[in-house]
Point group: C2
Chain length 198, copies 2
């Protein structure tokens, strides 16, 4: 995480991140429900070796996808249109998120940053990026976060295939990636939910 | 849907189902975010031809999974343990859900039943099954619904492979199934969410 200081608003490990309401025991159960195991953790490490050097190309695909759907792009737009400065700040964090997903430690520090990310989508969306986010919608509607699990999953496959020729190893990394992304979108739902519903 | 009358609590198409707060336009956008297309609808039809005759075997796998995780089984248990009558009523609907997922019409009738299912998980969990559900927890916590998208997705693959020898056709059906399940878990989150958050 050596590039932390160069990424605007990136605060992994900061004591200012909120404590997660999710206990380590809750997390273990959630991993059980997701069939997420130590093998997935290892497969994600391997995926990271392949994906991290391709971060910019992956982000190009994802930003192309968001940019081609007005109802997604609108979350980054004020009344005059998309805010390039806001999109650019988010892009830097989104790139680091690829690495963080592949290297996740699944401990309390990690849970706390998941809660921070969740709150940045709902409770305090436009605070992190200050003026760059001014005039944009006050929340990201949760349905799109969960729906985007699919394209975020499907579109990494060709990038995994560029770095690994064994189809079984690709499949293992790809499935681990899907579980890791679904786990995060599930955690990010927390502040959106009614008391006790999550 | 000829077996409707034999399935306890199954009310697809009933005028008593609540109207969905999700408009057809909202649904189209959500499908766009999920990369869900007409090709997926067709692939799901093909998947239905293969999966529906194997419904009981699939349910055995899923019930085995739930039964082997106390924290999942507890939603179907009262203070004396798992309620066999409750599990059996839900099982009949869960089987029909496989068919319904493969034959879904994605219209207002379908959206209305998604809302009905969502409310049965949260707003009024124990009403449909009356005495059979008595003493069981008042809601299904939403995190497990979303997490179970993964096992519900992963475990159907061998069943698809039993009915289709072309790996590409299996993959198309399997991806369509994943999108359809993720779409439903996203819709089912609605009543759990704070006003406007969904």
């Amino acid at each position: 995480m050596t590039t932390q200081s160069t990424i605007p608003g990136y605060t992994y490990g900061s004591p200012d991140n909120p404590p997660s309401p999710v206990s380590m025991d809750d997390l273990a159960k959630l991993e059980g429900a997701l069939l997420f195991t130590e093998e997935d953790v290892q497969a994600l490490r391997n995926a990271g070796d392949i994906l991290v050097p391709q971060t910019d190309a992956i982000l190009d695909v994802w930003y192309g996808f968001v940019g081609s759907h007005d109802f997604l792009l609108s979350y980054f737009a004020d009344e005059e249109g998309p805010r390039a400065d806001y999109l650019s700040r988010v892009r830097a964090r989104f790139g680091k998120w690829i690495e963080d997903t592949c290297r996740a430690t699944y401990d309390e520090t990690w849970l706390s940053y998941q809660q921070e990310i969740a709150e940045r989508h709902y409770t305090r969306k436009n605070q992190t990026d200050g003026g760059a986010a001014e005039g944009t919608p006050p929340i990201i509607n949760w349905r799109y976060i969960n729906a985007l699990v699919y394209p975020i999953y499907a579109t990494v496959r060709p990038f995994l295939e560029k770095g690994e020729s064994d189809p079984e190893a690709v499949e293992r990394m790809h499935q681990a990636w899907l579980k890791a992304v679904l786990l995060q979108s599930t955690l990010w739902a927390l502040p959106y939910m009614r008391e006790g519903a999550w």
